[in-house]
Amino acid sequence: MRPPTGDYPLRLEDEHIPMVRFQNVTKRYGDLVVLDSLDLDVEEGEMVTIIGPSGSGKTTVLRMLMALEMIDDGVIYLEGEPMTHMVKNGTLIRADKKYLRRQRLNIGMCFQHFNLFPHMTALENCIEAPIQVLGLSKTEAVERARDLLDMVGLLEKSDEHPSRLSGGQKQRVAIARSLAMRPKVMLFDEVTSALDPEVIGEVTQVIRKLVDKHNLTMLMVTHQMGFAREISDRVCFFYDGKIEEQGAPEQLFENPERERTQQFLSAVLEAT
């Protein structure tokens, strides 16, 4: 139960508190430093997109926030409260399982490979956690799930198992499943990377709808530059476990200041 090295507040008490704050977050796999002292604030309702070459730590950012893996140093705060740590006897100690479970309730995550539960129908996927974790009655959970499946355009597929759905449909069910927990923050981890080109649009359309109609805070890792540019409030370019450059999409895509950003963007845009 190692406390983070250095001085970290037990909770953020500034006048303005970001929805998510990464403070000096480091993650290593053995000798490999995947995230190097990352500082990043995400504001409530903001859509932040993370781009960068593979191995730059993009996905790790999301996985650390969802606490799928533990960070090695630093602290992540969620609405001003520590997420990776908890307060005990006036100091920060590593969060235990129970604390993490509670904190994760605020976050929803969609994965590259959907990770739907294959033995459950689309509807069952969406009601499982609301019933088991949030304690909703089955009627309430079904109603909520049907609304969400309707929102992603798959109400008529409610009773299908994932094996009967296309990739784009699976990802839309996965989005509905996450939203059924009513998270404050949504994480999209390369949600279109495993999809055939012709169905990418149906998933991005759902995400666009979320940006337009809901005040969700969102963090998205993507390789789709056009989509990132269109819907992000801010784009972060990751390189070597650090944010090399960040800014409004127009600025970052049209006038990147750093050489690595320019190289990456020209390489990516050439390929498409």
């Binding site: 479970r101 990770n115 033995h119 974790v133 996450s178």
Partner: protein, 222 residues
């Protein structure tokens, strides 16, 4: 010369069929114990308590590396030296149940390991508790994979029940031996025992294979 007596077959068949009931009972009881205990052994090896983990793993290895017949003798004949007096049935069920639980725990382990990492991560991201994650997400998906192995061991335990005859459980083999020594004829009783085993094993194995496909289908896994 080959001397097969049909009237003798007619005489002893009812007795053998009656003993078949005991054989089936022993197989099913033992299997029932093994199915439940095996799951406990498998899950115990996945906990975060190193001592429990290690102990259970060594125990499973120990059981798998020693002969079943020795284990049966041990429970039945060594138990009383420690004040544990067990009937042949109880001792037999403990020994064979434990033995197959060890094998089944490995089958479960392989089944659980076959569930992709992403399923655990999805369950974690939905804040499902460890118990719910196992009971609702992981184990249901591990079952189709484990089912083939579980079926093999069901047939296996059935074929191993004759070992219980060594401590006097009145199953098929025990009865065949008794008939043989009463009449000094072994050809017919042993042949019949073999045929009875075949008549049960073969259709069971076939039915299990069919059921495996059905299970996958019903779970929407294909």
């Amino acid at each position: 010369m080959f001397d097969w007596r049909w009237e003798f077959v007619g005489d002893i068949l009812p007795r053998l069929l009656k003993a078949t009931g005991n054989t089936l009972l022993a197989a099913l009881l033992g299997y029932g114990i093994a199915v439940v205990l095996g799951l406990i052994l498998a899950l115990a090896q996945r906990t975060h308590y190193p001592l429990l983990n290690r102990t259970v793993r060594e125990f499973v290895e120990f059981i798998r590396s020693t002969p079943l017949v020795l284990q049966i003798f041990f429970v039945f004949y060594v138990g009383p030296q420690f004040g544990i007096m067990l009937s042949p049935w109880t001792a037999g069920m403990i020994a064979i149940g434990l033995h197959y639980a060890s094998y089944l725990s490995e089958v479960y382990r392989a089944g659980i390991d076959s569930v992709p990492m992403g399923q655990w991560e999805a369950a974690t991201s939905l804040s499902l508790s460890a118990a719910r994650t196992y009971s609702r997400i992981i184990i249901p998906q591990a079952i189709p994979t484990a089912f083939a192995g579980m079926g093999n061991y069901l047939v296996g335990i059935f074929k191993d029940t004759p070992m219980l005859s060594v401590i006097g459980v009145a199953e098929l083999m025990h009865t065949a031996n008794a008939i043989g020594s009463e009449h000094y004829r072994f050809l017919e009783p042993y042949t019949l025992v073999g045929l009875i085993f075949l008549a049960i094993s073969l259709p069971t194995a076939g039915a299990l294979r069919k059921a495996e496909g059905k299970i996958r289908e019903n779970m929407g896994l294909r």
